[in-house]
């Protein structure tokens, strides 16, 4: 990966005002999620029975109000945001590594191995995974491992396809040929030559994958199948808010807006990166 490719991409990204705005919004959201709970005296699980379903305001310590159990929504919103972001990052990283390994091996080895590996991906993508995940949470029970596993199961398929496509496009290049001629083993070639060279486009798709993962986690949590009480994620908070919409509309507002901003800015940034690197999804 030459310096000019990265330099040119960075310049193009800087010229994209929407992407620039998205980076700022993201930075603010991440800072809020990390720092905000410390600003407020309340904790995630403390129940304030004197102020149940209390409206937001500055006169008391519950700046975003409280929920039906008297828990502070300012703290819970940002805790929930932390959970959602953590799932996005961790499950994103795992999906990325799985997809990277699988896709690079399939693309590099080619032939019958590639055919078989890609059929597996095709069959898995053909299955309605969302319903399967719901199904699995019913059978195994609801815990965070099942949640992470489900999210990864859905996330790694696209990544594997993209990595394979990128690998195919560099497989015949001279530096690979040189490595083969030099007697490097396939494992070494994939690890030392293929993976570093597909990382650029893969990073672009990873930024687009993270919001999908966050979305899926919130979806499951919204249905009551993801993050479990007393922990909060943006999905559980939105579900709670949607249920109390008429009596306590503020419960919905903060997590809803946070999730919307987070997803929009990640998507805009991902689109900006894709344009900057000028990568296309392989067909």
């Amino acid at each position: 990966m030459s310096a000019t490719l990265w330099g040119g991409a960075a310049a193009r990204l800087r010229a994209n005002s929407a992407a620039r705005a998205a980076i700022w919004v993201l930075a603010i959201l991440v800072t809020l999620a990390l720092a905000a709970p410390a600003l407020n005296p309340n904790s995630v699980e403390t129940l304030d029975w004197s102020r149940v379903a209390y409206a937001p305001g500055w006169s008391h310590a519950h700046w975003f109000g409280t929920d039906r159990l008297g828990r502070d929504l300012f703290v819970r919103t940002f805790e929930g945001a932390r959970t959602s972001m953590a799932v996005g990052l961790v499950a994103g990283a795992v999906s990325l590594s799985l997809g990277l390994g699988f896709g690079a091996v399939a693309g590099y080895l080619g032939g019958r191995t590639d055919y078989l590996m890609m059929r597996i991906i095709e069959i898995l993508s053909g299955l309605p995974l969302v319903f399967f995940v719901i199904f699995l949470t019913v059978i195994i029970g609801r815990n965070s491992y099942v949640l992470y596993a489900s999210v990864v199961a859905v996330g790694w398929l696209t990544m594997a396809r993209i990595v394979r496509g990128q690998t195919l496009s560099i497989r015949r290049r001279e530096f690979i040929e040189a490595a083969v001629a030099g007697g490097a083993s396939p494992v070494r070639i994939i690890w030392k030559h293929v993976v570093p060279n597909v990382l650029g486009p893969v990073a672009v798709y990873a930024t687009l994958m993270v919001p999908q993962i966050i979305l899926f986690e919130s979806f499951l949590s919204f249905l009551g199948l993801g993050t479990q009480e007393p922990h909060a994620s943006l999905g559980t908070l939105i579900a709670e808010g949607a249920g109390e919409m008429e009596a306590a509309p503020w419960i919905l507002l903060a997590p809803g807006i946070f999730l919307a901003l987070l997803l929009v800015s990640l998507n805009v940034l991902g689109d900006g990166l894709r344009d900057a690197f000028d990568v296309r999804e392989p067909g």
Partner: protein, 308 residues
């Protein structure tokens, strides 16, 4: 073309069979039976219940019975809604879900395609920016955020529309759920149409058509639209999937009596037969729609059917 269709059908049937088999054995592997969470029952009653639901038979016999019943459209009894069979629950809920889903799909196409076309024709105009920003918002923000926020605005603040509820034949209750369900696919379709149209409008045969002196309207309608819609056709199957998953949350939020709500309820109640039936139902609809979409794709882009 018929050969292509047969090939796709040949792939769909085993997929469905795998789904049914996998789902069936997953429910049977699950720890505990469907009656565990009730208070402890005397062993005789438990044995009676087990035999009434066929659970005392070896699992292969159960599987055979389930398949045989399934071929008659019988999904077995629901473990939680004691007086209903899963088929009855489906028959109650499916019309609502289908109505909701088909309106959303039709609207997404009817608005998305013209919007994307207009945006491509008037690049960098207000319409274009509207379409592009709508696309970003619609793609990024999920229905379960859009619907409560819409409810907050139009239901609680303005009192224009009901937040939740259902009355057969009444459109008022459908408006907000339909909007929430339509936005994501609408956004994708507008974006894909815009991209496809921009690419098509730049190609030589369009320049030729325009140079012949054909009016723009004819060029778009007769020549540009079909190739420009190829990416949209490719997206239709995911669009159906997105509407179907969206209907799960939308029905739960808006309290609509569709099948999506049964899947969620069934999942939370550990109602194995109900969830099994729903997974099979949703999968078959998805696979069936996939076939229809493949045909449409082949019609729009004749190269597809002949590849390989």
């Amino acid at each position: 073309m018929p050969r292509y269709f047969l090939k796709r059908l040949g792939a769909a049937i085993p997929t469905l069979f795998i789904i049914v088999t996998l789902s069936f054995f997953l429910t049977r592997l699950a720890p505990g039976g469907p009656f565990d969470e009730q208070r402890a029952l005397p062993p005789e009653i438990m044995a009676n219940l087990q035999s009434a639901y066929g659970l005392d038979q070896p699992v292969w016999v159960q599987y055979g019975r389930y398949l045989r019943a399934l071929s008659h459209g019988d999904f077995g009894p629901s473990f939680r809604y004691k007086d209903f069979t899963v088929s009855e629950l489906i028959a109650q809920g499916l019309p609502v879900t289908l109505e909701l889903g088909s309106i959303a799909m039709a609207l997404a196409l009817a608005i998305g395609i013209p919007l994307g076309t207009l945006a491509a024709l008037h690049r960098h105009s207000a319409t274009d920016y509207l379409a592009v920003s709508l696309a970003v918002l619609g793609i990024a923000i999920p229905s379960f955020v859009v619907l409560p926020l819409l409810g907050l605005i139009f239901g609680i603040a303005l009192h224009w529309l009901p937040v939740a509820g259902w009355e057969p034949g009444s459109i008022r209750y459908l408006i907000l759920p339909v909007v929430a369900l339509t936005l994501p696919p609408l956004a994708y379709i507008a974006r894909l149409t815009r991209g496809g149209m921009l690419e098509t409008l730049g190609s030589p045969f369009i320049r030729t058509a325009l140079a012949k002196g054909l009016p723009l309207r004819t060029v778009i309608g007769r020549h540009a639209l079909r190739p420009a819609l190829v990416p949209v056709a490719g997206y239709l199957a995911p669009a159906v999937a997105s509407i179907m998953t969206g209907s799960l949350v939308v029905e739960s939020i808006a309290g609509l009596p569709g099948v999506g709500r049964y899947l969620v309820q069934g999942a939370l109640n550990r109602d194995y037969t109900l969830v099994l039936g729903m997974v099979i139902l949703y999968s078959s609809v998805l696979i069936g729609m996939g076939l229809v979409v493949d045909l449409l794709h082949a019609w729009l882009d004749p190269r597809v059917g002949f590849a390989r």
